[in-house]
Amino acid sequence: MLRYSLKRLISLILSLAVASVVIFTVIEVAPGDPATFMLGVNAQPDTLAALRAELGLDASKLQRYVDWVGGMLTGDFGTSYTYRTPVSQMIADRMWVSLPLALYALTLSTLIAFPAGIYAAARRGKPGDLAVMGATQLGIAVPNFWFAMMLVLIFAINLRWFNAGGFAGWDNGLWTGLQSLTLPAIALALPQAAILARVMRSALLDILGEDFMRTARAKGLSRRQALWRHGMRNALIPVLTIIGLQFSFLLAGSIIIEQVFYLPGLGRLVFQAISARDLIVVESVVMLLVFAVITVNFLVDLAYAAVDPRLRSRT
């Protein structure tokens, strides 16, 4: 177990190192000068040069890479070119929107997918199964931003049950905060729930065909008991993979949804920063997202081991 974790940890660190080089390189070739952008059309060359020096844009690329990575290691993500505030501060603020949103959506999608998948698996081939599977096919096919548009149209503009967007902040209480995240979370969660429900169903069906399920039935467990006691934990293994992937997707892939609901989250920050050529913010946020994805996958790997004793003992 320890060895397994350590090995995964080393590959995690390596991945992060390569990722940092890739991100830095890609972003450095991006056209567009942050200083020009900040000063606009009427800026004079000497003003621009002054600003560039102030932002440290005149240092060599290598120097800037080293500074960037070194800074990140000590928790200092640098200072945003455009906002002139510490990037770590900005990220921390946005994180309080994106992370709860991702968790909320993940919870929703799990809450929808698990019962749906189990229900469908239990009624394989029957009308209930066909209905659930039909719905999930549809769920996968619906682009989430379109779905978000429809949600806004119906629930915010016509019915006025929810705010159309924006984030009320956690200061006004948990409830208001959750309320502003509800529509976005639904928009994000439903397509993911559709995928998860399908995975859940097929994982369960696979398990139902396993020999040990027959053994369990021969012991006198009813179909349902066998499913819960022996099916679930085994089915969880493929399902965990998907949940891991989905979490990263939800965290990083909510750019569009944050845009539709004008939530001040990480995704929107990246988008804004890219258009403002706020390179340091882009670099740091992308790096952070990659870090999150890699870490989540690492955790999923560890969760595997918790679920599956075969992995645990594999030295």
Binding site: R3, R214, T215, K219, G220, R223, R233, D308
Partner: protein, 532 residues
């Protein structure tokens, strides 16, 4: 009144008849063996008793347990009976246990699910049962997971689960087929002991007639969903009524006559061969572990000689085969074919390779399903410098197909159009097509039904005469090796512990391991005489 009484049981799955008018009965303390070839409906009969038939199955007739009708019995009632009144053991111990639960939990579940006793008592009972099946808790704690157990140990756990509540009836579906002979003997002993001790009825399904005749009080022979013959063991063995039964028994003890070995010279020389596998490190900074799969093996195979290799699963037989074929590099020693090394300067020696061929065990997995037979069996032509082309090639294909008992126009078919036995013929055709000097048979008949196996063995004997075959025949089935080889090697944990003339070794084994092997192998009684 019998414990279990099956009468005129018919079963159809989605309209296809699987069982027709099956009748049999079991008394308490009695062992009834159901036998027959693959697909004859043995398992379906058992599953119908358990009321665990696949979806879409419709059963007619009657299945009475203690006078109680089980067919169409309410599911909730059945749940109460399963595990408590009827226990069942399945064939595949590797997959019959849930990999993510401890063995203790799994055995205890049988007790808890029937609310037979409170948890702490259930725990004691679990320990007791596991001890009874030969897994004393001090050596094998309840907290072990299935993957930490060997196949035989797992099968004991499955049995423990089935007998934890001392059911009146135990059904065992091929409980030992996946196990080594020595382990098989232990499990069979265990089952027999349980029957006498608990007075259970045992419905035992097996296709191994030797096992049947040793174990059963009653024998039921099935064929294509019907019972063709059923009688007390002694009576049946003495007086077989149905030709199918007779054919089965004859095929099981099939003997072939091999042609004499001509004047000869050493063809294959294996000297001090060692094959190590690297194991993953135990701890991060340890040196990687090593597993010695083949350990200082030396032997010589003469031209025209038929050599056998026997040994338990995992003893290194296949590894040795791969080394001889030059598919893997060996760590020590030397393998020479006709004086030339099979592996030179870290590369397989193609000159040598083209003089050897191999036939594998799995008649389903050893062919690319997307190619036609002609292409499949000509694959070894790749080894030749100037492979035959055009009509020459077709002739060779036709000739070899005929030699293995198939028709020339089978060449254009796909592999899924053939039965298991036919596939094995095709595998032999593929091995023969480049007229190799040495053929390796790795468990080449182990997956076949007895009747088919007998045909293949006959075919081999014919081919020996026709083609002067030299081969190394690997099998864990001693009776097969005994009839098809001249000389035999006995392998244990990577080492050759005994070798010599086949009859000599089997008749008068020197090494204790050989003796154990032979003792464990169930003996088929002389037909017409009756069991011991």
């Amino acid at each position: 009144m019998s414990l279990l009484q099956i009468e005129n049981l018919s079963l159809a799955i989605h309209g296809v008849d699987i069982l027709r008018d099956v009748s049999l009965s079991i008394d308490p303390g009695q062992i009834v063996a159901v036998t027959g070839e693959s697909g004859s409906g043995k398992s379906m009969t058992a599953l119908t008793v358990m009321q665990l038939q696949p979806n879409g199955a419709v059963a007619e007739g009657s299945v009475l347990l203690d006078g109680q009708e089980l067919l169409n019995h309410p599911e909730a009632e059945m749940c109460r009976l399963r595990g408590a009144s009827i226990g069942m053991v399945f064939q595949e111990p590797m997959t019959a246990l849930n990999p993510v639960k401890t063995i203790g939990d799994q055995v205890m579940e049988t007790i808890l699910i029937h609310k037979a006793m409170p948890r702490n008592q259930a725990r004691d009972r679990t320990q007791e049962v596991l001890t009874r099946v030969g897994l004393p808790v001090d050596r094998l704690p309840l907290s072990r997971y299935p993957h930490e157990l060997s196949g035989g140990q797992r099968q004991r756990v499955v049995i423990a689960m089935a007998i934890a509540l001392r059911p009146k009836l135990l059904i065992a579906d091929e409980p030992t087929t996946a196990l080594d002979v020595t382990t098989q003997a232990q499990i069979l002993d265990l089952l027999k002991g349980l029957v006498t001790e608990y007075g259970m009825g045992l419905l035992m399904i097996t296709h191994d007639l030797a096992v049947v005749s040793e174990m059963a009080d009653q024998i039921v022979v099935m064929r294509r969903g019907e019972v063709v013959e059923a009688d007390a063991t002694a009576d049946l063995l003495r007086n077989m009524q149905h030709p199918y039964t007779r054919m089965l028994f004859e095929a099981s003890g099939h003997h072939v006559i091999l042609p004499e070995v001509p004047q000869t010279y050493p063809l294959l020389e294996v000297a001090n061969v060692v094959r190590d596998y690297r194991l993953p490190r135990k701890r991060l900074f340890d040196a990687p572990g090593q597993h010695r799969a083949v350990d200082q093996v030396s032997f010589t195979l003469n031209k025209g000689e038929r050599l056998g290799l026997v040994g338990e699963s995992g003893c290194g037989k296949s590894t040795l085969t791969r080394a001889i074929l030059g598919l893997e590099e060996i760590q020590q020693g030397e393998i020479l074919l006709d004086g030339q090394p099979v592996f030179s300067s870290h590369k397989p020696n193609l000159d040598v390779r083209r003089r050897m061929q191999v036939v594998f065990q799995d008649p389903f997995g050893s062919f690319n399903p997307r190619h036609r037979v002609a292409r499949l069996i000509t694959e070894p032509f790749h080894l030749l410098n100037t492979p035959p082309t055009g009509s020459d090639r077709q002739d060779r294909v036709a000739e070899i197909l005929k030699a293995v008992g198939l028709r020339a126009d089978d060449a254009t078919k796909y592999i899924h159009e053939f039965s298991g036995g036919q596939r094995q013929r095709i595998a032999i055709a593929r091995a023969l097509i480049i007229r190799p000097e040495l053929i390796l048979f790795d468990e080449a008949v182990s997956a076949l039904d007895v009747s088919v196996r007998a045909q293949i063995l006959d075919l081999l004997a014919e081919l020996c005469a026709a083609y002067d075959l030299t081969y190394l025949f690997i099998s864990h089935d001693l009776s097969v090796v005994r009839t098809i080889t001249d000389r035999v090697l006995v392998m244990q944990a990577g080492q050759i512990v005994e070798q010599g003339e086949t009859e000599h070794v089997f008749g008068d084994p020197q090494h204790s391991y050989t003796r154990a092997l032979i003792a464990a192998a169930p003996q088929l009684p002389e037909i017409g005489k009756g069991a011991a």
